[in-house]
């Protein structure tokens, strides 16, 4: 199988680490060669963060470049637009419609771009937009947006539903399993 590329992007502190941990574990269990790459450090302080997940028969590079991502899973609206140049021709952007103002917007030096999803669609990008924050809150915690989005991503894969659930059970603390399973379900079926 050719290498498949998934990017997880968002704002530092939104839980991309758990999402990539879950994906990585699942894909290793499925028997793929897997590489997951992220940059720690500065990015934890509310900055823009990106994680690369690559899997296939044999994966070499740990990074995903322009035009290579099969999926971009974005935890925040304009972060999807920031990284969309890395999407492949037939790729899909799964995006949480939540808006988080970056510092230039907070201090009034820039405007929050409102219509990026429309512009992406106009340029032929497959955009799958969901309100992951509301769904996560419905599941029991605003912090579970990451798992809602993983549920949405799962729809595009042939991997059985139960295997994703197993991966969740093995990646989160026992007291949060039920809530995260609910979040995953809401993302999958919304």
């Amino acid at each position: 199988m050719d290498t498949k590329n998934i990017m997880i992007v968002g704002v530092g502190g939104q839980g991309s680490l758990l999402a990539s941990k879950l994906l990585g574990k699942l894909l290793v269990d499925e028997g793929y060669d897997v590489k997951v790459s992220e940059v720690h450090g500065m990015s934890q302080r509310g900055g823009s963060v990106v994680t690369y997940v690559r899997f296939g028969d044999k994966v070499y590079s740990p990074v995903i470049e322009d035009g290579e991502a099969d999926f971009i899973v974005s935890f925040e609206k304009i972060e999807a637009a920031r990284y969309v140049k890395q999407l492949s021709k037939d790729g899909t952007v799964i995006v949480n419609t939540q808006e988080i103002d970056p510092m230039p917007v907070i201090i009034g030096a820039a405007e929050y771009p409102k219509d990026v999803l429309t512009e992406m669609k106009d340029k032929g990008v497959n955009v799958d937009a969901i309100d992951a924050l509301s769904l996560a809150t419905q599941a029991g915690s605003a912090k579970a947006s990451n798992i809602v989005l993983m549920g949405r991503l799962a729809k595009y894969f042939d991997i059985p539903y139960e295997k994703w659930i197993n991966a969740i059970e093995n990646s989160v603390k026992p007291q949060f399993i039920e809530m995260n399973k609910k979040a995953f379900e809401l993302g999958y079926y919304c």
């Binding site: 290793v28 740990p62 322009d66 510092m103 030096a109 512009e119």
Partner: protein, 578 residues
């Protein structure tokens, strides 16, 4: 058992399996997780040292005593540890000694992009360079063998993309190794009469290691039939080369980058018509090839700056760009910033309001340089704030002394700020040093340090009292302020700046991300009272934005520090009643 591990965790596993009994390190991105992961093993010793020099000397001592040991640091940390490094090359080791160093091409989290391979060459110490997590584990184990067989410390060098990328590794068993300690002054007392006899040993050792590089298999040729050209590469660059070319070109993959092989490179040159060298940062392999008479292409087509990727390699070979969407909308940048409720922000606000010159240092608080606070004037390296304010004030005189401070974190102060403070006390400048004490090593992800009272494993440990330490080196005026109290900070700042003696202000409040710091009720804005003057926006708190003519608090971010309340002339910030 197969596991998906980041390179750093794989190095920790490899060191553990290789019988490592002690690690002493100072945290630094992207090296930190090696030590953190190693601390999780119960049958070994692991610690945070105050700085990299102390860490390296601690590891040296343990190896001398007879236990396999290691120390880990980022590239700039190796500058701090360079003094013991060069002479450890002469003494060699008893039990194996491994130095892990992580470079940061692209400067994701660093102040420069120096290439650590120069240190291996200069100190004549072998350096292994893994290209993925599997090699991280293998090379860490192998490093101890090389260390003992050749009587030398051994480097394992990574970069951000190897240190922080996860790939699959096979977990193995641990081997225990213990050597007897025997007094051997000729080998371990490096005074001139002894050192002069050790230098020839070092030169012979390099020859032996070069033969090892040629023959051991750590450097390997991957031959492709009918290949147009060949590529010499190592580290993550190898992965990019394979991503672009697969098995269609011949590759000399280097796992050991010091000393570099000679015969193997010459043999490789016979196999191909043309050779490219693909290496990030400085042209070290390239210059070596040229020095042994092998013609190669390197910096003519590849950049000396930043990280590579499959894209940059493809571009260098004129392989066409892939399809890519371009949006017309400009997306505003999203830089990292100090968190909502960060205790550093209050002190920075006071400094900015008083238009004080601020010599800065390395840590989360370097983020105070950004708008809207723009509170810093310089940042150089760990500890430099305290040493350079002394020079700044000596050069500028009384007028400068009265409007200049330096800021340094608690961990950075313990690392190398205290020596600068000793200089201020000894050579008498009226400098004002502000220690931003958030009671943790923040930027690298919350590591304990000598002022926190806890060890790397979270057990109670010795606790250095900052006030006593400052007093003891000769600073009479040591004041402690709460950075959430702006008036107090301003009053103490003005008093200390005007004193005719050196002083230390300890701005003390724990990092809001620490588990024991419980957030208070978030504030809200009373829009009847808010006049839209935007004074609170000058504070740069990410929880406060300006919407529809009024300030607005993001209650998911606000931790109720209430500093914004002190800024507002109209009492518009109110505690939410639950």
């Amino acid at each position: 058992m197969k596991k998906l591990l980041i390179g750093n965790a794989a190095i920790a596993r490899g060191l553990y399996e290789g019988g490592c009994s002690l690690i002493s390190s100072y945290p630094g991105t992207p090296s930190t997780e090696i030590t953190e992961e190693f601390a999780k093993f119960s049958d070994t010793y692991c610690e945070w040292a105050p700085n990299e020099k102390v860490a390296m000397e601690t590891a040296f001592g343990a190896a001398l005593q007879g236990k396999r040991s290691a120390c880990c640091m980022k590239h700039v940390g190796l500058n701090v540890a360079a003094d013991p490094l060069f002479t450890m090359s002469y003494t060699g080791v008893n039990a194996g000694l491994v130095i892990c160093v992580a470079d940061d091409p692209g400067m994701h989290s660093s102040q420069n992009e120096q290439d650590s391979r120069h240190y291996a060459i200069a100190s004549k110490i072998p350096m292994l360079e893994p290209s993925d997590s599997e090699e991280c584990l293998e090379f860490a184990k192998l490093a101890f063998e090389i260390s003992e067989n050749f009587d030398t410390p051994v480097f394992i060098k990574t970069c951000t993309r190897v240190a922080h990328s996860q790939s699959i590794v096979e977990i193995g068993e641990r081997t225990e190794v213990t050597k007897e300690y025997a007094k051997n002054g000729a080998k371990y007392i490096m005074m001139p009469g002894n050192a002069i006899k050790r230098h020839p040993f070092v030169e012979e050792r390099t020859k032996a290691l070069t033969e090892y590089a040629d023959t051991s298999g750590i450097n390997r040729i991957e031959k492709a039939d009918n290949a147009e050209f060949g590529i010499i590469t190592s580290s993550t660059s190898y992965q990019y080369v394979k991503e672009v070319f697969g098995d269609s070109v011949s590759v000399l993959k280097l796992g050991m980058v010091n000393p570099l092989p000679i015969n193997l490179i010459k043999d490789f040159a016979k196999l191909v018509n043309k050779i490219y060298v693909v290496e990030e940062l400085d042209p070290i392999i390239e210059n070596h090839c040229k020095s042994i008479g092998v013609d190669v292409i390197g910096r003519e087509v590849f950049s000396i700056l930043g990280e590579f990727s499959q894209k940059s390699i493809a571009k260098a070979f004129n392989i066409q760009d892939k399809y890519s969407v371009d949006l017309d909308t400009q997306i505003p940048v999203r830089p990292p910033m100090m968190c909502a409720g960060c205790p550093h922000r209050g002190m920075y606000y006071v400094l900015a309001r008083n238009k004080v010159t601020v010599l800065g240092d390395i840590g989360c608080y370097t983020l105070g340089a950004q708008p809207p606070l723009c509170a810093l004037d310089s940042t150089l390296c760990m500890g430099a704030s305290v040493s350079s304010i002394h020079g700044f004030n000596k050069a500028g005189g009384t007028e400068t002394e009265q409007k200049t401070v330096c800021v340094i974190g608690d961990s950075t102060f313990m690392h190398s700020g205290v020596t600068g403070l000793i200089n201020i006390a000894y050579n008498m400048s009226n400098s004002t040093v502000i220690i931003l004490d958030n009671s943790i090593t923040g930027m690298t992800g919350h590591q304990q340090n000598p002022t926190t009272g806890y060890s790397i494993k979270g057990d109670p440990a010795g606790k250095i009292n900052l006030e006593d330490l400052c007093h003891s080196v000769g600073i009479n005026s040591v004041r402690v302020v709460d950075p959430y109290n702006l008036d107090e900070c301003e009053k103490v700042l003005k008093e200390e700046l005007n004193k005719n003696e050196p002083s230390v202000i300890i701005s003390r409040r724990p990092c809001v991300l620490l588990k024991y710091v419980k957030p208070k009720t978030p504030l809200k804005v009373n829009t009847d009272k808010c006049k839209g003057c935007k004074k609170c926006m000058k504070f740069g708190c990410p929880a406060i934005s300006f919407k529809d003519g009024h300030a607005k608090v993001d209650t998911t971010l606000c931790i109720g520090c209430e500093v914004c309340k002190q800024l507002c002339a109209f009492d518009a910030f109110e505690s939410e009643v639950k």
